[in-house]
């Protein structure tokens, strides 16, 4: 009962602090929204197009580029704007079509096409895509130039013939097929990837931020006063831990319920989702109590807490899906409890797993929680009873 009282008073303290309303309730949802808006689309590379020519070749190249499936295009009014966009990274590559392309082709000259790409990212590789689109468009042009040179027939006529033959000619079809099981299924909602990440990031952050409250409790002598009542040291330690755990759970449940209702995030098996949250909140609470016992300055603990929770969150895959990490970094990531929790949620959310499927993740989180609580209880006993 006393454990309950200490815990609940801690949760009340958290809720009454107005700025916590922002950090615990508004901020995580805002981030989920922002990231959903940002990455809800796909990662298709963007090629910028600028055409200074209103002829048929230029129009065909633009149309061909726009018809490509996994490439997005954006039109620019001037070559300068296009270059600026490539320099600034807004587009990965650009095609600049100069004036007089049709004329050059008719005169049997080389048609010049400007290409600009970033030297990093997908820039160099996009050249193959652009080259292929241009090649398709220029095929009848090259054939007509060849025929005109061979037969002295006018270019207009040979181009017409070439286009006519090209229509019905035997073709070499390039057939593309995809194999393998996608890590990110097509039907994955735009918030389904972000919601578990933010849940894990913020419950841990809130639990660690609770260390400042624990330090204040000790500084103001509340812990000592509790000891002078018929409350055992063990009860205080468990109660304080329960308080940290409760605040993390309040936030975690809030994020799960709200994203379920507002963004329609499919959390999968509810038992598994809640179990993961309970164990992860316990890990966070253990870490929070440990920090609250080791530090004696709440401002220092606050700073270290922010660094730890953001740092571990980034390392654990809360800001970039673990699947996109290099193999080495994936192993490093699994030092953090975050990575295990996220693996569990990935199984539930993306692969429709059940509680049984996430037993290994639950087990690892349980072990983290036990170790952290053991350390925290030991340190907190010392911190409270130290004269």
């Amino acid at each position: 009962m006393r454990v309950w009282a200490i815990g609940v008073s801690n949760i009340k303290r958290m809720l009454r602090e107005r700025s916590n309303i922002f950090f615990v309730f508004i901020f995580p949802i805002a981030i989920i929204l922002l990231i959903g808006a940002q990455f809800g689309g796909d990662f298709d590379p963007v090629v910028g197009l600028h055409s200074a020519d209103d002829g048929i070749i230029a129009a065909s190249i633009v149309a061909e580029m726009e018809s490509l499936d996994d490439i997005e295009t954006r039109n620019f009014g001037s070559e300068e704007e296009l270059l600026g966009a490539v320099e600034g990274g807004a587009v990965q590559a650009g095609i600049s079509l100069p004036e007089g392309m049709d004329g050059a082709a008719a005169a049997g000259e080389l048609v010049e096409i400007g290409y600009v790409a970033r030297t990093d990212g997908t820039g160099p590789q996009l050249q193959a895509v652009v080259g292929s689109a241009v090649a398709v468009v220029m095929k009848p042009v090259g054939a007509a130039q060849f025929a005109t040179a061979e037969t002295d027939a006018p270019f207009d006529r040979t181009l017409e013939i070439a286009r006519g033959i090209d229509e019905g000619a035997a073709a070499i079809a390039v057939e593309v097929s995809a194999v393998g099981e996608s890590q990110f299924p097509e039907d994955l909602g735009r918030f389904d990837l972000g919601a578990p990440s933010q849940l894990v990031l913020f419950t841990f952050l809130t639990a660690l931020a609770g260390s400042a409250a624990l330090i204040l409790t000790r500084q103001l002598g509340i812990s000592q006063r509790m000891l002078s009542t018929p409350t055992s040291l063990g009860t205080i330690v468990v109660g304080e831990s329960f308080g940290r755990f409760g605040t993390a759970m309040v936030q975690g449940l809030y994020i799960i319920v709200l994203t379920l209702i507002i963004f329609g995030v499919d959390w999968g098996d509810p038992v598994g989702a809640i179990l993961l949250l309970v164990l992860f909140a316990a890990v966070g609470a253990g870490a929070g109590v440990l920090m609250g016992s080791v530090f004696s300055n709440d401002q220092q603990a606050g700073g270290v807490g922010v660094v730890l929770s953001i740092g571990l969150g980034a390392l654990g895959g809360c800001m970039l899906p673990l699947e996109l990490f290099s193999p080495t970094m994936q192993r490093v990531a699994h030092i953090t409890p975050h990575a295990w929790a996220l693996d569990g949620y990935a199984e539930l959310v993306r692969r429709d797993g059940t509680t049984l499927d996430i037993l290994p993740e639950l087990g690892v989180l349980f072990a983290y929680a036990v170790i952290l609580f053991a350390l925290a209880a030991w340190r907190l006993r010392i911190a409270i009873t130290r004269p």
Binding site: Q145, F146, A169, V176, Q300, G303, G311
Partner: protein
């Protein structure tokens, strides 16, 4: 002014002894920049390590042309090529993620081309590598188009001279029909990069994000003195009241400059950030710190207690940082989000640094410095008026 300097230097010593300013101002941004660089460094540039497979079951001169093309591209360092003996082996490699995509030329490919009948090239790609698959398909397509162009050239020339495509007609041609594929050139328009590399991006982002928290230690001192009653004692001292406010502002400025200065040097030495022309960086840092002092001054002026100011300041710093794109760039191209980001000094600070990238002269940062100074002057002036009303009169 003498009193203001004395107050500032006294507080500066206090803040340095209490390690929280060092944790927030130096250790936190440095640690996070390091971790972010480690985690996101690779994904940030979205560099594709293309690994393609090639299966040539045809083995004719025509089919070997594709291998030649791919080897040429490989020599440019754009992709890595691996040849497989059977389609099954290649498909397995794609499925296991060993290669991104595989190109297959079936038996009889060369024969089909020679006899002008339909032929096919199969590209198998991993579902998780759509861009890489598209690139493999493009290379295959370009090769196929080259063959088609030569065929089309011959057919067109024959049609234009009303003859049939016969061996005699072939012999009468004066140029090689495969030249028809080269009716154009793609010329590279070189361009500079006005974008920060991952390391510098995260170093600068974290530095300017935590700057707003560091500066708080200075400005909020005013509220602490008020609550602890030392403000009244200061006011009783033979110094002007304005110098008390000025002293705290000066302290905030010094803390900001020290934090940023240490971070600029430390990130260059420890994690290899490249901040650009020193004078340009210095101007950006000074303007950035001034805007932080102005904005946090505003917070101090409206808050009732030091805790309230600390919380409000944290909320504002986090919102401005998020919007300013210190964690990840907001929006793409010129959509709404990427314009919205410029309502923060953070975004201008990053923009100014991006303009200094690639060895640009210090003057490239000036537009951004100007924009940040507008934030500094406007918020600074309003803070001064409000703080004057509260602490001076």
């Amino acid at each position: 002014m003498g009193a203001a300097t004395r107050i500032a230097t006294k507080d500066l010593k206090l803040r340095i002894r209490d390690r929280s300013a060092i944790i927030i101002g130096i250790i936190a941004p440095l640690t996070l920049a390091f971790i972010f660089d480690l985690v996101f460094g690779g994904a940030f540039t979205q560099q594709l390590d293309l690994e393609f497979g090639l299966v040539d079951l045809d083995g004719t001169e025509i089919s070997q042309g594709l291998g030649d093309v791919l080897e040429e591209v490989e020599a440019e360092g754009v992709l890595v090529l691996e040849t497989f003996d059977t389609a099954e082996l290649a498909e397995e490699a794609v499925e296991e993620g060993v290669i991104d995509a595989s190109i297959l030329l079936g038996e009889g490919f060369g024969q089909s081309v020679m006899t002008n009948s339909d032929a096919g090239i199969a590209v198998i790609g991993s579902v998780d590598a759509p861009t890489s698959t598209q690139i493999a398909a493009s290379i295959a397509q370009q090769y196929a188009t080259g063959i088609e162009a030569a065929q089309l050239a011959v057919a067109t020339a024959a049609a234009a001279s009303n003859s049939q495509v016969t061996p005699e007609f072939f012999a009468s041609l004066t140029t090689d029909p495969s030249t028809a594929a080269f009716s154009y050139t793609i010329t590279d328009i070189t361009t500079a990069t006005r974008q920060l590399d991952a390391t510098t991006y995260f170093s600068a982002g974290m530095a300017v994000f935590f700057l707003f928290f560091t500066v708080q230690f200075g400005v909020l001192g005013l509220l602490e003195e008020e609550r602890e009653g030392t403000l009244a004692r200061l006011q009783a001292a033979p110094i002007s009241r304005a110098s008390i406010v000025l002293g705290k502002a000066l302290l905030a400025f010094l803390l900001g400059i020290i934090s940023m200065g240490v971070l600029v040097v430390a990130t260059q030495l420890l994690i290899g950030a490249t901040w650009g022309a020193p004078l340009g960086v210095a101007l950006l840092v000074v303007a950035g710190v001034l805007s932080a002092v102005g904005i946090m001054g505003l917070v101090a002026a409206v808050a009732k207690s030091p805790e309230g100011a600390g919380n409000l300041g944290a909320i504002i710093a986090v919102i401005l940082g998020m919007l300013g794109g210190v964690f990840f760039q907001l929006g793409s191209g010129d959509d709404f989000l990427s314009r919205l980001t410029f309502i923060t000094p953070h975004a201008w600070f990053m923009e100014g640094l991006a303009n200094l990238a690639d060895g640009a002269p210090w003057t490239a940062a000036l537009p951004a410095v100007g924009a940040i100074m507008i934030f500094a002057v406007v918020t600074g002036a309003i803070s001064w008026v409000l703080l004057r009303r509260r602490f001076i009169r």
